[in-house]
Structures are given as structure tokens and as C-alpha cells.
Amino acid sequence: MPLAVAPLLFGAAFGVLALDAGLGAEGAIAMSATTFGGSAQFAAATILEDGGGAAAAIVAALLLNARYVPLSLAVASIFRGSWRRRAVESQLIVDESWALAGRSGRFEYGVLIGVGLLFYVVWVGGTVLGTLIGDLLDPEGIGLDAAFPALFLALLAPYLRSRRALLTAIVAGAITLVLIPVAPPGVPIVAASVAALIGLRR
């Protein structure tokens, strides 16, 4: 439950930014309900606010969210039932629900759906609040932007007992670090999935 503070505050911050960017309250809420991915939404709204144009906003947001292809591939095996049901349930994949679902080293369906639903409701609700009453609290002022990479680090730790996973993580981290200064935001994460080819080693 304390986890839900972050999407509430960031959701409200997005609502405020989206109003400044001219998305309108309906647009802000529609974007949170369909895209449901913080970094891409912030990028698109920031570009629109700066007068960067629709095409630039779309390209930036799509590059940022392209990581959901490898993320959804990694967790695909836990989804069962008809393809429609899998398509609907897969919308609950966000970085946090995905990472927490894998905390035992094996993805758990219940965690992904539970955390995903909680984040979805709070993210959309936070956006609504942001458009109505403005910023609730500065998320960066209370260090929330450092809390999530630390969470991902904690969730990465159990994997590192395997030599192969350790090597993969080091290579993936290095690819990301090298690409951040030269590639558009979002691309480094997608490119880092190439490190998973290390899985082919015996």
C-alpha cells in the first residue's frame, strides 16, 4: 500500500503538466487510462508544452514505451486463457508490477494483476486529482525518483546468484550507460535486452 503513494503523486504531477500542455482534463485522464506509463506520458506532454509538435511527442513516447515489448515477452508465460483475455490482462504490465511480480525469481500472476490494478486505479485517480486541485506534493522533493531505481535494484539482487544472470545484468547495464548520451530516451533499455542472448551460452 505505501507503494501507491508514488503513482498518486506522479499521477497528479502529470495531470498538472498535461493541463499546461493543452491536453485538457479529459485528454490527461484518457492518456493515463490508455497509455498507463509515466515516462512516456511526461515526455509527450513536455514536448507538446514546449511547442515541439505532435510528431515529436509521438515518436518520443513510443520509443520510451517500446521497452514493453521485451518486458511483456519476459512475463508472457504467466498469462493464460483466450488471446482477448491475455490482451486485456497484459495492460496491467507496468515497470513496477512487472518487477514486483518477478521478485521470487519466477513471475507470479497474482502479484502482477494485484499490483497492476492498484497502480492503474491510483495512477488514473492521481491524474484526476492533479487536473482538479493541482500538485499534491512534489514527488522529487521527498526523493521518490530515487526510490524506484532502488526497488528495481533490490528486485535484481536475487537473480545475481546465477553467474549467467549476473553477466547478463552487467552487460545490459553497460549497454544502457553507453547509449544514454547518444541514443534517444527509451532506446537504451530496448537495446539492453540484446544482453539476454547470453542466455544461449551453455
Partner: protein
């Protein structure tokens, strides 16, 4: 124009998230593909840690996030619970920004 952005980004993201479960769910993967998918999680987690710790808009940015994540890393090493790790990281970054 803004509705075009909302529709395209929303539609594409829905497709990105559905890609794995729709194409691969309900199906056993060949062993070689499965062994690659097995290490996708640590690869992507490492990439998320790096981008969210030092990632800026097309540049490496060293700021309070890094100190927070290092402090959180110490908590991980001491086997602290997840919530404690997050609070340690957030509090460290928040304190640094105060001064």
C-alpha cells in the same frame, strides 16, 4: 492534434504490452528461446536501474538519485525488506536535496 497524440501513443502502448502475452502466452517456447527469455528479466531490471539512476534527456546526470540508490543498495546488501530499501533511498535523496 493533442487527441491524435493521445490516441496513437495509447494504441501503440496497448499493442506493445499485449505483444508478449498474445503472441507467446499459452505456448511452450523452444528451449533456446526460453533460455534467452529467462535472462531478459535481469537484463531489463539492470537497464531500468541505470536509466532511472543516472539517465537524463540524452545525457548522464549525476544527482541526488545516485546517492539515494547507493544508500538503497547498501540496504539491499544488508537484506533489508523492499519497503525499507525504498524509504532509505528516498530519504537519502530528499536529504541531499535539502542542502
Amino acid at each position: 492534434m493533442t487527441w491524435l497524440v493521445i490516441a496513437v501513443v495509447g494504441g501503440a502502448t496497448i499493442a506493445f504490452k499485449a505483444a508478449g502475452p498474445v503472441l507467446v502466452g499459452n505456448r511452450e517456447l523452444p528451449p533456446q528461446v526460453a533460455s534467452v527469455v529467462d535472462v531478459l528479466a535481469p537484463a531489463l531490471l539492470a537497464a531500468l536501474v541505470v536509466t532511472q539512476t543516472v539517465g537524463g534527456d540524452g545525457e548522464i546526470v549525476i544527482d541526488a538519485r545516485l546517492a539515494g540508490v547507493v544508500a538503497g543498495g547498501v540496504a539491499v546488501w544488508l537484506r533489508a525488506p523492499l519497503l525499507v530499501v525504498m524509504v532509505v533511498a528516498a530519504a537519502t535523496a530528499a536529504l541531499i536535496r535539502l542542502f
